[in-house]
């Protein structure tokens, strides 16, 4: 089994127009910047993929990563919990101009809906958002005297994620808090592409320390010394 692809360009080559794309990371922590930028490169060269639905906790910062995708005009819709942040002009401008759609999801519900998709659970009940405008139109039910909202799984065509160590079978570890949404998105997409900082042989990751088992990963590409979104934003990099 060898899931390794040699370039980020190959890794993102088959993502079609209109795809639902999960992108791992929380802010810049664990964000697969090189995969995102490879996708932007492809769009600039070929016009595809466009009309994407992007699923991420945020909606991009500064002029790199998801923000650069939005600026480039590849994104039709964001599904996220927190699009508002200090450097979120790319999304804000398009949103206020009515040029991008937003599905706002509470953060824990977003995580659980993604996990449910990966786990074959089509719907579940959560207390979160009960009685709020984000629950409007959703079924509710009482369990043990408390009210809950029914939420559906959230699937994607592709997940772009960032690991620390990887192997050719697709086993992954993550660095520090860079784990966040990455292991969940790996489970929830038809196809998962992981960039890893270190690519080792099968067995190079202790089986007890594998965080994402290879069954959830389709493509692995090594990106040594990956860039950090937060550093790029703070130094004003424009992609």
């Amino acid at each position: 089994m060898n899931k390794v692809t040699s370039t980020t360009a190959e890794a993102v080559a088959s993502i079609p127009d209109g795809a639902r794309v999960m992108i791992g990371g929380f802010g810049g922590s664990g964000a697969p910047i090189e995969l995102i930028h490879a996708l932007i490169d492809r769009f600039r060269a070929t016009g595809s993929p466009k009309n994407l639905t992007v699923i991420n906790n945020n909606a991009g910062n500064g002029s790199i990563g998801i923000a650069a995708m939005i600026k480039a005009g590849m994104v039709a819709k964001m599904v996220c919990s927190f699009p508002r942040s200090s450097n979120a002009e790319a999304f804000n401008e398009k949103y206020l101009a009515g040029e991008i759609e937003l599905e706002l999801v509470p953060q824990g519900t977003l995580a659980e809906r993604i996990r449910a998709a990966g786990a074959g659970i089509p719907a579940f009940y959560t207390p979160s958002s009960y009685g709020t405008e984000l629950a409007e139109g959703k079924p509710t039910e009482e369990f043990d005297g408390k009210m809950y909202v029914r939420e559906r799984w959230l699937k994607a065509d592709v997940a772009l994620i960032k690991g620390q160590k990887g192997d050719p079978m697709g086993n992954l570890t993550y660095r520090l808090a860079g784990r966040n949404f990455n292991p969940l998105m790996a489970m929830a997409a038809d196809r998962t592409v992981a960039q890893v900082a270190e690519l080792g042989k099968p067995g190079s990751i202790d089986p007890e320390q594998v965080i994402t088992p290879g069954i959830f990963v389709d493509t692995v590409v090594e990106v040594p010394e990956p860039q950090q979104e937060e550093v790029l934003v703070r130094t004003g990099v424009v992609y």
Binding site: A119, G120, P168, P207, G214
Partner: protein
């Protein structure tokens, strides 16, 4: 054809397992049910890289260790000692069944008491007596891209195991996609059994006679040929 002896000329369990193993694709993720289906791993064709999953939280395990080398924290769902291949991983039970229900396995192979022509499977209990036990069977029949059954074609007293409607308690509804028996390879398609292969020595009529539902064909029926020395 008339001299086919149902009990003597049928395939052995090892031969059924061998046949099922031929359909497991290179690079696939497979769960083999406890018992008879576990045999399939022994016949995995050379050059195919198959990763085995077991419900209790191991991906990428290999053969049993040498006697005396068992580590009883390292077992499969049948509680037999196993070994690990390079690139194996451990995970908890909820993640393990996420792999099952979430559609991440390419194939699950299970045993059966009965399979109905609509794909219903009965394999967990034969009546209301005794101690019931279900294990992971009701989960394994959902989620894997293909759910295959390996089984003798008939019961010990010659009754059909491929039936119109299961009479034993169900494990899952409309879940089986292919059945490997001691006489034939049968697909479940649109609510019918479709015969793909049969032993050359058995006639269509004789095969139909020991099958509890109509065997359809939608093209040539292949010869079910397996190594004799298994």
């Amino acid at each position: 054809m008339s001299d086919f002896n149902l009990m003597e000329d049928k395939l052995s369990n090892a031969q059924i397992a061998w046949r099922a193993a031929q359909d497991i694709e290179d690079g696939s993720y497979v769960n083999l049910g406890i018992g008879f289906p576990e045999l399939i791993a022994k016949f995995q064709p050379e050059g195919r890289d198959v990763t085995y999953h077991t419900e209790n939280g191991v991906l990428g395990f290999g053969a049993a260790p040498e006697p005396g080398q068992e580590d009883w924290d390292l077992i499969n769902a049948g509680k037999k000692a196993i070994t690990l291949k390079p690139g194996a991983s451990f995970f908890h039970h909820a993640d393990s069944f996420s792999m099952v229900r979430g559609g991440h396995l390419d194939l699950a192979v299970l045993g059966a008491y009965q399979v109905a022509q609509n794909g219903d499977l009965a394999n967990w209990r034969v009546g209301s007596k005794g101690v019931p036990a279900v294990g992971g069977a009701m989960d394994l029949v959902h989620g894997a891209r293909r759910v295959a059954v390996i089984t003798d074609h008939v019961t010990k007293d010659g009754g059909p195991k491929l039936v119109e409607t299961c009479t034993f308690p169900l494990t899952g509804v409309g879940c089986v996609t292919r059945v490997y028996t001691s006489l034939a390879v049968v697909d479940v398609q649109d609510g019918h059994f479709v015969l793909r292969e049969k032993l050359p020595a058995i006639s269509m009529e004789a095969l139909q006679a020991v099958t509890g539902a109509t065997l359809h064909t939608d093209g040539p029926v292949g010869d079910l040929i397996v190594p004799e020395d298994l």
